[in-house]
């Protein structure tokens, strides 16, 4: 076998292995872009924690949960067959730009800033992190009704929520264990994660 042929076969093998690694093996989940805005899932509060904070429906109405994801939970408020409103709680860690609209808010509800978005949507920012939103559907709701619905959420319970990772970081280490060395990594997500505990101090 000539030397050229051996080199050729070797190269071919290497290229096909690389090809297989990138296209056939499930490496895709390791690549960035898997989560919303590339924020690690542990830094976002899971939607199942939000579900119990939704208001309980009035007689004749039904609350049907439609989506439960990391940092988001949504339910439909139904009366009979028609949808009256969409109720949602979201963690703004993955959408920091959503917080900026509250800077200009003039209204408050239970001490938290409240804004209107268009004719049918009202939003409340709790603990500078969780957004509670009510969007009127179908015939629509007036602002008063939407504010009543937002007020019916368990806002204190929501303000006390913490993500898994921040809670773990706050835990004290056992006697004799050294604090792990924090290497300062200058990325945007890392800074956001470190600023979270400061935001989540109890409101009272």
């Amino acid at each position: 076998m000539s030397r050229m042929l051996r080199w050729g076969i070797g190269l071919l093998l290497m290229v096909s292995l690389l090809f297989a690694a990138f296209f056939l093996l499930p490496f895709r989940s390791w690549l960035p872009g898997g989560t919303v805005a590339d924020v690690a899932t542990a830094e976002v509060v899971n939607g199942s924690a939000f579900n119990r904070l939704f208001p309980s429906p009035e007689p004749g109405e039904q609350l049907v949960f439609t989506q439960e994801k990391r940092g988001f939970s949504e339910a439909r408020l139904k009366q009979g067959q028609s949808i009256k409103a969409l109720l949602a709680i979201s963690d703004t860690t993955t959408a920091p730009e959503a917080r900026s609209k509250f800077a200009a808010s003039s209204q408050q509800l239970q001490g938290w800033p409240l804004v209107e978005q268009g004719n049918q949507a009202s939003a409340l920012l709790v603990a500078e992190r969780f957004q509670v939103k009510v969007i009127g559907q179908g015939a629509g709701l007036d602002a008063e009704q939407r504010h009543d619905l937002i007020g019916a959420f368990d806002l204190e319970g929501l303000a006390a929520l913490k993500p898994a990772r921040a809670a773990r970081a706050a835990k004290a280490l056992a006697q004799g264990r050294l604090q792990p060395v924090q290497i300062p990594v200058p990325t945007a997500t890392k800074e956001a994660a470190q600023s979270v505990p400061a935001v989540l101090e109890p409101a009272a």
Partner: protein, 294 residues
């Protein structure tokens, strides 16, 4: 890869698929609106036509549909897989129908699988795809049979029309009016060999939970069990039957003079109703979330 809303904008406004759905929707109270504009959908969910707000929702929806963990893209790829295999199976059966008339290739026609069991496998794969897409979009674990069963009753709008289309096109037309009742028995006879013969299975095997054909078959049977009870009630509530489905389709597609089975084959080969309504349903859920997050 295009985002969910881009795909919604690209959906056809008028073609065979839309006409077939329009026809079937005459059987479903509440009717069906062919949503093909993302901005229109956003403004109807938001109850506002403010261009700045719509642009914000759209940008957020695109971020969400690009994130793989969120499952919106995967739900669409499930519908795509079902659609591809439906077309393949439909084309195969169409070919068999044509070949059966020509004396020389008659023998070849006998080779193509046209049996009821294969149709039952096809239907069960579609139901499984519906359930998996549902769990992807709602954020539940992949085998939440009970949640799927209970939320079927909540289906409104396009999902009702999609279910009516699924029941008519894939059960009542090819399997007869007792199709839903026969389905359980037919699925009982399905073995690994039949499963492997179905082109739909090859495309979807990787997305069904469990390892191996046996586990997948168990998953399909359990999924269909959940769905069947609901589907039988739904069909009897609306009074669905093969005859009514053909009449409804004739109102929009024009007169049909072949048999029910041929109509089912024709619809399989030339329409993509499942994918069309699937994109619309996923887009609606995505917009509802994006509107709540901006």
């Amino acid at each position: 890869m295009s985002t969910v809303l881009e795909r919604l904008d690209r959906l056809p406004r008028r073609n065979l698929t839309v006409l077939a759905l329009k026809g079937i929707s005459t059987l479903v109270p509440g009717g069906w609106h062919n949503t093909t504009s993302a901005n229109e959908l956003i403004s109807s969910v938001l109850g506002s036509s403010d261009a700045a707000l719509i642009a914000q929702v759209r940008a957020r929806a695109d971020v969400l549909s690009r994130a793989r963990h969120e499952g919106y893209g995967r739900a669409l790829s499930l519908y795509d897989a079902v659609n591809r295999s439906q077309k393949a199976a439909g084309g195969l059966r169409l070919l068999a129908n044509v070949a059966a008339v020509l004396p020389l290739v008659k023998r070849a026609a006998n080779l193509t699988p046209t049996s009821d069991t294969l149709q039952a496998v096809d239907l069960s794969l579609k139901v499984a795809a519906e359930m998996l897409a549902f769990t992807q979009v709602n954020g539940l674990p992949g085998d939440s049979f009970a949640e799927f069963g209970s939320s079927l009753g909540e289906y409104a709008g396009e999902a009702r029309v999609r279910m009516a289309a699924l029941i008519c096109f894939d059960a009542l037309l090819p399997l007869g009016d007792q199709g839903l009742q026969r389905l359980d028995g037919l699925l009982g006879r399905v073995g690994q060999r039949e499963l492997r013969l179905s082109p739909a299975y090859a495309g979807m095997a990787a997305m069904i939970p469990g390892r191996g054909d046996e586990a997948h078959l168990g998953f399909l049977r359990r999924g269909v069990d959940q769905w069947l009870g609901w589907a039988a009630g739904f069909a009897s509530d609306l009074g669905l039957s093969g005859q009514k489905a053909v009449q409804a389709l004739e109102s929009s597609l024009g007169p049909w003079q072949g048999g029910f089975e041929q109509l089912a084959t024709f619809l399989d080969a030339f329409t993509d109703t499942y994918q069309h309504t699937g994109v619309q349903a996923v887009a609606r859920r995505l917009v509802e979330r994006a509107a709540a997050e901006i």
